[in-house]
């Protein structure tokens, strides 16, 4: 289970402890599709150390609203359930690993 698709019900429990990285995306968003293999790669690379999740903003508008996601893709980093950083737009892999490595 490398990558989890998160729903509103499951979100808090899944991200309650440890380091999490959540990608907010939607199917009509080209940049999101482009970022997808990067996120998949990170899920494999950090397996067992970081919870890597995806939130479909179309299916889960409540989560998008709760995190104030106003542009996708947006990647939110959480530590023990609290947001510690976020990256808006498509970034190279190193931008995400830098945040993960600094917080592991």
């Amino acid at each position: 289970m490398a990558l989890i698709h998160l729903t509103e019900e499951a979100f808090d429990k899944a991200t309650a402890s440890g380091l999490s990285m959540v990608d907010f995306w939607a199917s009509w968003c080209g940049p999101c599709k482009m970022l997808s293999p990067v996120i998949d790669g990170l899920a494999r690379k950090y397996e067992g150390r970081v919870l890597v999740g995806k939130v479909n903003t179309d299916d889960q508008p409540g989560l998008a609203m709760r995190f104030g996601v106003m542009s996708i893709p947006t990647v939110v980093f959480l530590k023990d359930g609290k947001e510690i950083d976020r990256k808006v737009g498509v970034m190279p892999e190193a931008a995400y690993t830098a945040v993960l490595d600094a917080n592991l």
Binding site: C29, G30, P31, M34, V38, S71, P92
Partner: protein
């Protein structure tokens, strides 16, 4: 997957595409509305060899016809991001993604700077993609800042999915739905403490939660993070190679003089070198 993706459908981009086709490469040219092209807006050209006194739109049409004849594929849309992934590139075009082994940037003259308040509100209400982010603003007030010829269509799309749209541009738009209010203004500012709260358009304040800024093309440094610039222009060497391996650039985006002959010449070099780059990739497997 294409061998080469060319970003921009002006003289430099089409010249690069033709040259790459001549070397047997598959090529897609991704560009916006022809009316945004600098050549299209030029009434008369006296210094393009062999075409004394030619009208800009006519010359552009000839270039496009030439590219079609050579089997260059064409895709309309604005490239939002380019992401290098190993030995290939992903290019986001609206809701779609294209893949190519090499990229030629021919995005035209560099846009004037950002609006005051634009960079600060990126991801906090400022968006460059109506298709991507529109759904997040359903039933909300949004302002579309139309700087590209196809911007009215994107404003119509936002209206159709349920955004409350106001359209702002310096000149009256063509093709905007009559039920979308239009504000003619040139001096703009994005306002808001953390998130966007309004757009100041000349003397009018338009309250809104989202601002869609639709320019003919994205600035090169935003298109491809890490791309080295020289002032506002893309840094290239004599092979028209940019600082990122596999990326070439040609035409107005590399610097002055902003002339058709120079664009066509640079495009020729960029297309040639991009094709060689792809050959090398294939040989080294």
């Amino acid at each position: 997957m294409y061998d080469i993706a060319v970003v921009g459908g002006g003289p430099a981009g089409l010249s690069a595409a033709v040259q790459a086709r001549a070397r047997g490469k598959s090529v897609v040219v991704i560009g916006g509305d022809a009316r945004d092209n600098a050549l299209y807006k030029t009434r008369r050209i006296d210094n393009y060899l062999g075409f004394y006194g030619v009208a800009g739109p006519e010359l552009l049409e000839r270039f496009e016809a030439h590219a079609r004849e050579m089997g260059v594929e064409r895709r309309n849309g604005r490239v939002l991001n380019i992401l290098p992934m190993g030995t290939e590139f992903y290019l986001a075009v609206g809701s779609e993604v294209e893949q190519a082994r090499a990229v030629v940037l021919a995005t035209g003259v560099v846009q004037a700077g950002k609006l005051p308040g634009e960079a600060e509100h990126l991801g906090a209400g400022v968006s460059y993609c109506a298709t991507c982010d529109g759904m997040l603003y359903r039933n909300k007030e949004v302002v579309v800042i139309g700087r590209a010829a196809d911007a009215p269509h994107e404003a119509n799309y936002l209206r159709e999915i349920g955004c409350r749209v106001t359209y702002v541009s310096p000149r009256p738009p063509e093709g905007l739905r009559p039920d979308i209010p239009y504000v003619q203004a040139g001096k703009l500012r994005v306002l808001g403490d953390r998130a966007v709260e309004a757009v100041q358009a000349d003397s009018v304040t338009l309250p809104c939660e989202g601002v869609f800024i639709l320019r003919p093309s994205m600035a090169p440094a935003e298109l491809l993070p890490g791309l080295e610039l020289e002032g506002n222009y893309i840094r290239v060497d004599r092979n028209m190679a940019a600082s990122v391996p596999g990326v070439f650039a040609a035409g107005d985006c590399t610097g002055q003089p902003l002339q058709v002959s120079k664009a066509v010449g640079e495009g020729q070099v960029a297309g040639h070198r991009a094709a060689e780059y792809v050959d090398t990739l294939i040989q080294t497997g």
